[in-house]
Amino acid sequence: MNDLAVMTSGLTKHYRGDVLAVDHVDLRVARGEIYAFLGLNGAGKSTTIRMLLGMIRPTAGHAELFGQRVQAGTTELWRRVGHLVESATAYPELTVRENLEVARRLAGISERAVVGRWVERLALEPYADRRAGTLSLGNLQRLALARALLHEPDLLVLDEPANGLDPAGVIEIRELIRNLAHERGVTVFTSSHILAEVDRFATRIGIVHQGRLIEELDSEALEAHRDRRLEVGARDLAAAEDTLRAAGLAPTRRASDGDSARLELREPSALERPDDIARLLVAAGGPPIHLAVARESLEDHFIRLTGGAATEAG
């Protein structure tokens, strides 16, 4: 049995006008993984997602979901796939319940109660009989998620699932996605621009830049790749620097953010025993006023990898 939920081979999309949106992307997403697909605006994320869903025809290469080749005419495959592509949409003149009823019928689900269940699960009861056109962005996003989940898919393809949600909603959706993956073994393929959010739930991350997949790592590998440092603050930074150098360490000065100039140590001994560094500085008569082990955030890692042109992935 094929254990991959998503597989692409040389997936490429060339648009007219010599625009290479996606360039030979090879993806392998195992069943049960939560795969985060990151990239700057225009990096090729949405085009890749649309090719996975048969909405865009690849110029070269192909995509498979659960071992089945994706084509525009594929229909049975979509019983196993739920999706939310780019912004959430709904029929504005229909109520929340009616929108889900339309989705239920088109998904071929005979059980009517499923609509009520997802209305309840995504906290949409107060809005169930309200027209979708009057919903807030956050509730519209919940409705779109409910529609994607209605047929209990084995694979969820989500584009910016936390878009428009308030902080509580973001946590709620994160927990929902995590539970679906852990309890039901649902594979999640998601793009997001909230990198800190992705960092919390993704089991694997793929970074796409200018149409190419430039890095793919699981959460352990990401952890290992991350730059770790011991940040040291002192009233007399020059004296602290001398003390540390005298102890055989190689402190570097971090660019000052206003008045918070600090020293950074990357030696494993310092990272493992920051208390020794504190003792050293106290003994030298210049005790630290700040001492913290910091690790590179996914955002920093992402910016380092993509050349730092942007502060957010899109």
Binding site: G73, W78, E93, L94, R105, L106, A107
Partner: protein, 262 residues
């Protein structure tokens, strides 16, 4: 088959909730009422002037107040008016999915795209036929209420059959509005197409080539060209059917083959 039934049910739900579907029905309902008013004025111009229905210097050139004139006007209203109002209906049913970006929910879906297109076309067709039948029935009631002379059961039956056939052909030609709603990803392209076809039909009809142009055929069939125009042949009707089938195939092909970036 279940998929088609479900898709048709969802399309009807959307249509029932839409202002456009009801707006088209109301717009069409105005036709027999206005024609009836014309007949009242034609029957008694002086009385109409006295009531303020007709300006002091205005002349109505619609003809005489009788059933043949009234049914001829009804035929023009349902075909020329239908060409634009049914295009609104088709543009909405298909184009709204792109304008509202709801098409994404219809694409990677267990219900095949072809079934979605058939369901949408079915809803446009059923709405179109229902509205045409309602307008014709209302027209007959208005004509009877006005007390028009010249009713001949055989002539009226033939004219009503022609109007019915013309309405069906007008609705059938809306597959091209459906096609352009996809290609143009919204409402503008199908409506522009409908206007272009109406103008071209009028120009070709004036030049005497109307029966050769499929988009002119329904109006000529319904009597819009008067007696000077060549009668519509079976071949011309077949040409309309062929053009409609080509449009349907083009619509299927577009939905299944085109990149969906909306």
């Amino acid at each position: 088959m279940n998929g088609l039934r479900a898709a048709i049910a969802t399309e009807f739900l959307k249509s029932r909730r839409s202002r456009v579907s009801w707006g088209v029905a109301v717009g069409f309902t105005a036709a027999p009422l206005v024609m009836g008013l014309f007949m009242v004025i034609l029957k008694d111009p002086e009385g109409a002037r006295a009531l303020g229905l007709l300006g002091a210097k205005a002349q109505l050139t619609a003809g005489t107040a009788d059933w043949p004139t009234f049914l001829n006007l009804m035929g023009q209203a349902t075909t020329v008016g239908g060409a634009i109002l049914f295009a609104f209906l088709a543009a909405w049913v298909f184009g709204r999915e792109f304008a509202d970006r709801t098409v994404r929910g219809l694409l990677a879906n267990p219900t095949p795209r072809r079934t979605i297109v058939v369901a949408k076309a079915t809803v446009v067709g059923i709405w179109g036929v229902a509205i045409s039948a309602w307008v014709l029935a209302l027209g007959l009631a208005v004509g009877a209420l006005v007390g028009l002379p010249g009713w001949s059961p055989s002539d009226a039956t033939a004219t009503i059959a022609s109007i019915g056939l013309a309405s069906v052909l007008t609705i059938g030609l809306q597959v091209w509005a459906m096609f352009f709603a996809g290609v143009g990803r919204g409402y503008i392209a199908p409506l522009a197409w409908a206007v272009a076809m109406i103008v071209t039909s009028q120009v070709l009809s004036v030049l005497g080539w109307g029966s050769w142009f499929p988009w002119s055929v329904p109006a000529i069939l319904a009597g819009a060209g008067g007696t000077e125009v060549e009668p519509v042949t079976v071949g011309a009707i077949a040409a309309v059917v062929v053009v409609a089938i080509i449009g349907l195939v083009a619509t299927f092909t577009w939905w299944e083959q085109a990149d969906q970036t909306t």
